[in-house]
């Protein structure tokens, strides 16, 4: 293929489309990182693994609903419609359990935040290795719930699953933004992020707000896991680490604790990554991507939307 301006533009647009899809996964995970951090000032390092569990749960629920050969099951579309909320319910239960079993007891005993973060990291490893122990190291394949239809838009390949994923991510972001900025519970979440001590004095149960935050974050991560399975059917037990870590970095770059930050950071990271990938050898991808993010943080240590915590009088 001869080098031409047109090819470059098509390539660029193709990478943009890919970036949008990958950014959607990052966003769905980063939002949960950011929500939990906003409320608890805790980096819930098990969050990436909640995403992984979401993918696996999605796989099991979908295969169960579709039913093995010979038995009558649901149609793929009905499966999709039912499996997504079920996956989200189960991952939110997982998130709530993590909070109840791992974080709350430590915080009640006044443990330093560092210990809680290390505990979160351990919980993530437990989930990951628990999965390996349970299922073995085999890679499971996600069933095809929606036949992939590829559209060719001026040479750029886009498919229906990709579109579905990007639109879902945007809708989830808008919903979370609405909850945090417009609802009573969101107001309480913002209040906790500023001052945990005073919330009970308003007659508001702090734990209820914390649990709600974990439900929200984990449900969204579960949704992300499910969508990831639809787009990349091969499930891997370490996907929580590989994708989850990047989502965490995206949340930090965007300004952790800010819903907008998680969203913008996720797409920024995805674009940088896909662009480096497109025009440089792929081994450079992470090196360049993270160097650029480092520069951004260097310039704005609290992330793009983050506010420095000023001393309170």
């Amino acid at each position: 293929m001869e080098f031409s301006l047109q090819n470059s533009i098509v390539n660029f647009l193709q990478q943009c489309a890919n970036g949008l899809e990958i950014g959607s996964f990052y966003a769905l995970i980063a939002l949960g990182y950011s929500l939990v951090y906003g409320v608890l000032r805790l980096i819930n390092f098990a969050h990436g693994d909640v995403f992984m569990v979401g993918a696996y749960l999605g796989f099991f629920i979908s295969t169960a609903l579709l039913a093995p050969e010979g038995m009558s099951g649901l149609s793929p579309i009905a499966t999709l419609i039912l499996a997504i909320p079920l996956t989200m319910i189960f991952t939110s239960l997982l998130g709530v359990s993590l909070e109840r079993v791992a974080y709350r007891p430590l915080m009640r005993k006044g443990a330093h935040r560092l210990y809680v973060v290390i505990t979160a990291l351990m919980c993530g490893l437990i989930l990951q290795n628990g999965n390996v122990a349970l299922l073995g190291a085999s890679h499971s394949a996600f069933p095809e719930l929606v036949p992939v239809v590829v559209y060719d838009v001026w040479g750029v390949n886009i498919n229906n699953v990709m579109l579905f994923i990007v639109i879902t991510a945007v809708l989830v972001f808008l919903a979370l933004h609405f909850i945090v900025s417009r609802t009573r519970m969101g107001m309480a979440m913002r209040a906790v992020s500023w001052d945990k001590f005073a919330l009970p004095l308003m007659g508001i149960p702090l734990n209820k707000v914390i649990v709600f935050t974990f439900v929200l974050g984990s449900a969204v991560a579960g949704l992300g896991g499910f969508l990831h399975g639809m787009s990349y059917p091969v499930l891997e037990q370490d996907m929580g680490a590989s994708i989850g870590w990047k989502a965490f970095i995206a949340a930090v770059v965007g300004g952790i604790g800010e819903v907008r930050g998680a969203f913008v950071g996720a797409f920024l990271l995805a674009f940088v990554e896909t662009m480096v990938n497109a025009f440089l050898p792929s081994t450079y991808s992470d090196l360049f991507a993270f160097s650029i993010l480092l520069l951004i943080l260097w310039h704005r240590p609290t992330g793009i939307f983050g506010r420095p915590l000023t001393a309170k009088i």
């Binding site: 009640r108 107001m187 309480a188 004095l201 308003m202 007659g203 508001i204 702090l206």
Partner: protein
Amino acid sequence: MLRVSNLKAAYGKIEALHGISFHVEKGEIVTLIGANGAGKSTALKALMRLPPPESPTVTGGDITFNDVSILGMPAHRIVHDLKMTLVPEGRHIFGNLTVMENLQLASWSRKGEDTDKEIQHVFDLFPRLAERAKQRSDTLSGGEQQMLAVGRALMTKCTVLLLDEPSMGLAPLIMYDMFRTLKRLNTEGLTIVVVEQNAHLALKVADRGYVLDTGKIVAEGPAEELLHKPEIKAAYLGG
């Protein structure tokens, strides 16, 4: 109404209250005075049943509200069920929320009720807050923040209000205004327990007072009496 008997409270292993007893009757203003570290704030935080580590754990004695022990009650239930709340030391307003949002949040436990009237009542008490209703509350001055902290507590529809050092960091005029407002709220029926370093001011408005020293109550009585006791004058009222 509110009765504290032989209360012992500790932060971890360090005991901060060594068995104090006091009581508050409906409609009273009671003040706890004493030097820094005497245990005044600890007593209020224990009353509110706020969770450790910021607040103490009760290791002995009892706190009763209308003769029912409240030791097993979490703070948010005390606010909601007993209508008692605290304006904490340092105000602890939600700086990232607007003035209006701070007030609305405090009416959380009364979902669905029409709170416009109560917000209006707070604005009547503190007209400055009305002017700044849409402003982020960390942009308020210290005095305005204290007004917001009190206004926010009133939005919980409390009948017993605990205040921890309400005069801290306030200019004298604003401080007197604040105490005048507290007195007015008291005549409207609010029971008040106020912890103060400015013992003179507190005893002036209070009905009764208790003097704390290193976790023990060393004197008590009608405020007027305490104001004129020579040893109290010498130790807490600047001679």
